[in-house]
Every structure is written in C-alpha cells, then in structure tokens.
C-alpha cells in the first residue's frame, strides 16, 4: 500500500519538483516566521536568550501590556495614524488628478509626462531621502532659499515634530504618486468612448461627466488603490528611518520604525515581535473593514 503510494508520487513527481524551490523558500521565510513571531511575542527573548535558549522565559501577555503603557509606542501609533490620515487621501487625489490630466491627450508629450511623473516611484528610497534631506536642510537647502526670496524666515523642516511629519508626508506622496497614477490611467483607458459620446449628446458639462461617469466607473481601481496605499502607509518606515531616525523627540517614529528599533537596535526581540503583531492586526482590521464597506456599496 505504502509502496504503491510512493510509486504514484514518483511517477507524478514533476509538478512537485517545479514548485518545490519557491514553495520551500516561502514556507521557510514567510509561513514559519509568522508562527515564530507569534510564539516569541510571549517571551522575553533578547540578545542573551539568543545565545542561550534556556534563559528565555515565557512571560504571557507582559509584552503586550507593556506596549499599552509605553509612551514611545503611543507616539508611534499616533504618528502612524497621522501619516495615514493625511498621506493616503493626498496620494489618491493627486495621482487621480494627474492621471485625468495625462489621459486628456494621446500624443508624445503626454507619454513623456507619464514617464516624468512615474520616475520617483522606481528611484531608490535611500537616494530619495538623501536628496530630500538636502532640499529640506535649514541652512543650505533649496526650499528655504526659495522662501527667503519672498522674505520668509528659515523653516526648520525636519526639526519640529509636526512639521517634520508633514515634510516626510510630502516626500512620500511625491514618491507614491507614480504607481497609482499608472493604475488609474489603465482604468481610464478602459472606459468605452461611447459613454462620453452619449454624455456629450445629452449636453453634459465637463464636471458632470467627471462626477457622474468617470469617477463611478473608476470605483474598482479607486478601491484597489485605497486598500494597497493604506496597507503601505501603515508600514511607513524608510522615510523616518533615513531622514530623522524617528526624531525630533520621537515625533516621526512610525509603528514599523518602532519595531525595527526595538528589535535591531535594542535587541528586544520578544517585545518587538509583540509590536509587530499589533501592527499586523491593525492592518488586517483596516483591510477587512474596507472590504465590508465595499460590499454594502451598489453595483453597476
């Protein structure tokens, strides 16, 4: 019986051979880690525990209760919300606006514009942060120089908690427009011309066409962009990591940066894992909530 089973598996081995390498890597570095993260979030694993497993203790929910009292974590949650609430609508509105403008024409100029607006999306985030750090520099930065031409005092772009958050958002919006613009453009080009013609015959004004035809037909892509952008912004990390290291006064620390700092700068692996699970749960809740809202919507 067992022999028989082994034989059939040997005969049908090819599909398994094809999927094995990728599958093994995914299991090892994606599925197993999430279980490990869950388990160690209930322990006090740190650098010492890494060297000597017997010194690791199960501490129950202590990491999670400490998180609730940790003022830095509070700040990280607040800052992440701040980034999401301001950044996500800004990205969606500007990428949709630019897509509508670019969709206006079909000739070469518009293809060039598409490339220009897309460029920030594929440039290296570290290079971007380095360049923007220079632009934002209080003494020698271009922004303050331009402002000085119209007699505005030097603005400390990255040195004041609220302003620093806004400065990081501007940079992230600049980088985030490209991909979403492309998605909107693809959707816009999929709208049949007959809809617009019908509207024109009915004498609809431009804004009416936009509000009653274009936007409703873009509902699916707007939903998609909202979900992916929201998930991305909840994991806001590189911008504060490179430009402000979370400062000033933890004013720009995001949840993702908090997890990184706890894990790799303070080596509190258990505590960091607990933080990462909180982030994971937030992401799941937000995503499910959106799908729920979407379902209650009417279909066309």
């Amino acid at each position: 019986m067992l022999n028989q089973m082994l034989k059939t598996t040997m005969r049908n081995r090819h599909p398994y051979l094809f999927i094995a390498p990728a599958l093994l890597i995914l299991i090892l570095f994606s599925l197993i880690p999430i279980t490990i993260a869950f388990v160690i979030s209930f322990t006090d694993l740190n650098l010492k525990g890494l060297a000597d497993w017997s010194s690791i203790n199960f501490i129950g929910l202590e990491n999670y209760t400490t998180l609730l009292k940790d003022t830095v974590f509070h700040k990280a949650v607040f800052n992440t919300l701040f980034y999401v609430v301001i950044g996500v609508p800004l990205v969606i509105i500007s990428s949709l606006g630019i897509a509508l403008l670019i969709n206006y024409g079909k000739n070469l100029i518009f293809t060039v514009f598409r490339a220009v607006y897309f460029m920030p999306a594929i440039t290296n985030i570290i290079a971007v942060a380095v360049v923007w750090g220079f632009l934002y520099n209080t003494e020698y930065g271009l922004f303050n120089y331009v402002l000085s031409l119209v007699d505005v005092d030097k603005v400390p772009w990255l040195e004041q908690p609220v302003l620093a958050k806004l400065s990081l958002i501007v940079l992230a919006v600049w980088k985030g427009i490209g991909i979403n613009m492309i998605i909107f453009l693809a959707a816009l080009q999929g709208i049949p011309n007959s809809y617009y013609e019908a509207a024109r015959i009915d004498g609809a004004k431009r804004w009416q066409v936009l509000v009653y035809i274009t936007i409703p037909l873009l509902r699916y892509s707007i939903f998609f962009v909202t979900v992916t952008t929201l998930i991305g912004w909840l994991q806001f990390f590189e911008e504060p990591f490179i430009m402000t290291q979370g400062g000033p006064l933890d004013g720009t620390v995001s949840m993702a940066l908090f997890i990184y700092q706890r894990g790799f700068q303070f080596s509190e692996f258990g505590y960091a894992a607990a933080g990462s699970f909180v982030l994971f749960i937030v992401i799941i809740i937000v995503t499910l909530l959106q799908f729920k809202l979407k379902k209650s919507d009417v279909d066309y």
């Binding site: 990728a22 290296n124 570290i126 380095v130 220079f134 020698y140 600049w174 949840m255 997890i259």
Partner: protein, 276 residues
C-alpha cells in the same frame, strides 16, 4: 462651430501648462541632485545657490570610490541582482507547475502561496533574522538574498501567463518524447518571453534598490550594498552635500537609464501587477 473649437484648444493649453508645472516640481529633486553632484564642496554651500555648477567637477564621483568603498558596494549590489534572477527562475518554475499540472492539494497549496502576500515585512523581519542566525547565515551573501528569492506575487503572474499556453503544444512535445524539464526550458521559457521581460525588469529594480535585508544581515562593510553604503555616507559626511548628491545620482542614474529603455514594459508590468 468655431467657438467650440477654440474652447477645446484653450482647454488643451491649460492641461498642458498644468502638467508642465507639475512635471517641473516633480522632477526638481532629480535636477537638483544631478546639478549639485558636479559642484565643488565650496560652491554647494554658497548662498544664493547656483543652478548649474560654475566649476563643474567629477571629484565627488571619484571620491565615492577613493574615500568610500563604492566599488565594493557596487559589486555586492550586482551579485544580489544576479542571484535574484535565480529567484525569478524559481518563481517561473512554480508558476508553470501551478498552471499546467494537476496534482493533489494544488488549490490548497496555491492559496497558501497567496496568503504569504498578506504578511507584512515587519512581522517576519525578526523571526527570519533569528532563523538565519540559527542557520549561521548572518553576515553572508546567501543570508541577504535567500529570504527574498521567492515572491508569491511573481508566481501568481507567471501562473496567469503560462495558463494561456495551449496544453496541446505541451502534449505534442511529450508524444515526441521530450522530458518535462526539456519542455520547460526549450518550449515554455521561449514562449513566455514577454512575462520574463516584465518580471526581469522589476526584479532588477527591486534588487538594485534592496536595503533592509542587507542592512540587517550584513555586519561588516564588505557585504554592504549601494543603498546601505549611501545611508552610511549620509551619516559619515553629514555636511558634504556634494558627495551625498553624487552618491545618490550614482544609484539613481542607472535606474533612469533602464527605465527610459524599457518604459513600456515597466509601465505594463506595474499595470498588470497593480490591477490583479
């Protein structure tokens, strides 16, 4: 209808002017980066700043290789790019396995693959570090590359494309006595060129830009990538903006070149990957 027509031209001008203004704002950081990278250190701190370098110099770029180890970083980055193409190949194989075979538990396994897409990087970051530590792969090139080799999304796209290849073609090859791997290499891969092109470019960009894993796994400078080296440079030469800009330009310009050569594929790639 002359008025209708002139209204249309007017609108067109407004749209074009808006796009030009926006385009200038969007590309300003690039322009500033490139022009600043050719300025000598004295000129870059000058107020008012010059738009183009008065005494253009290549010193900053040379300094990247003499004062910093950008040569080593470049070599490491290129190794990572090369190895990530092995991953691309694994993804293609898996995509083919899911697209063209029926086997026990296929759907369940595929859902498992898709589920990995939902796990945020921050959650797996620490356990993967611990795993690699147990495997003795900390501070090795293999440790940097291995966790990112397989990507569910890429497998998904390969599956979608390869499902459209007619099964009759594969059956015919089998009747001619071709082995399964021979079929994959000599028949499936050539047919799948378009998806390989899109995925290949995206793989190149992602590997070229890789930052977080090299940062976490590499303890000594000999394994740093360009991104990690650049962030090190920002810390070490905090006030030498000309050098920083040269470092940034050195990372960005190859991407700009790749992008302008393959614009169509990249945009297509992001559209298909975005809409699914």
């Amino acid at each position: 209808m002359p008025s209708e027509k002139s209204k249309h031209t007017f609108e067109r001008w407004v749209v074009t002017i808006l796009l030009i203004i926006g385009g200038l704002i969007v590309s300003l950081p690039f322009i500033w980066m490139i022009s600043s990278s050719f300025k000598p250190e004295s000129e870059i701190l000058q107020m008012p700043p010059t738009l183009f370098a008065e005494n253009p110099t290549l010193d900053n770029y040379i300094s990247l290789f003499t004062n910093m180890n950008f040569g080593i970083y470049l070599k490491n980055t290129l190794i990572i790019v090369a190895l990530s193409f092995v991953g691309l190949f694994f993804n293609a194989m898996a995509g083919y396995g899911f697209a063209k075979y029926n086997f026990k538990g296929k759907d369940k396994i595929f859902y498992l693959v898709l589920a990995t897409m939902m796990i945020p990087g921050q959650v797996t970051m620490i356990p993967v570090y611990l795993l690699l530590n147990e495997m003795g792969l900390i501070n090795t090139m293999l440790g940097i590359v291995l966790p990112g080799l397989a990507a569910a999304f890429s497998i998904f796209l390969f599956r979608m494309f390869m499902a459209t290849i007619p099964t009759d073609l594969i059956e015919a090859a089998r009747l001619d006595g071709a082995g399964e791997f021979y079929i994959f290499f000599r028949l499936i891969m050539p047919i799948s060129k378009p998806i390989f092109a899109v995925q290949g470019i995206l793989t190149f960009i992602a590997a070229w830009n890789s930052f977080l894993w090299p940062l976490i796994i590499a303890n000594d400078e000999s394994l740093y990538t360009l991104s990690v080296g650049l962030s090190l440079l920002k810390g070490q030469y905090a006030n030498n903006f000309a050098l920083q800009m040269a470092g940034a330009a050195f990372m960005v310009i190859p991407i700009i070149i790749v992008f302008s050569l393959f614009q169509k594929y990249i945009v297509e790639g992001f559209t298909t990957s975005g809409l699914k």
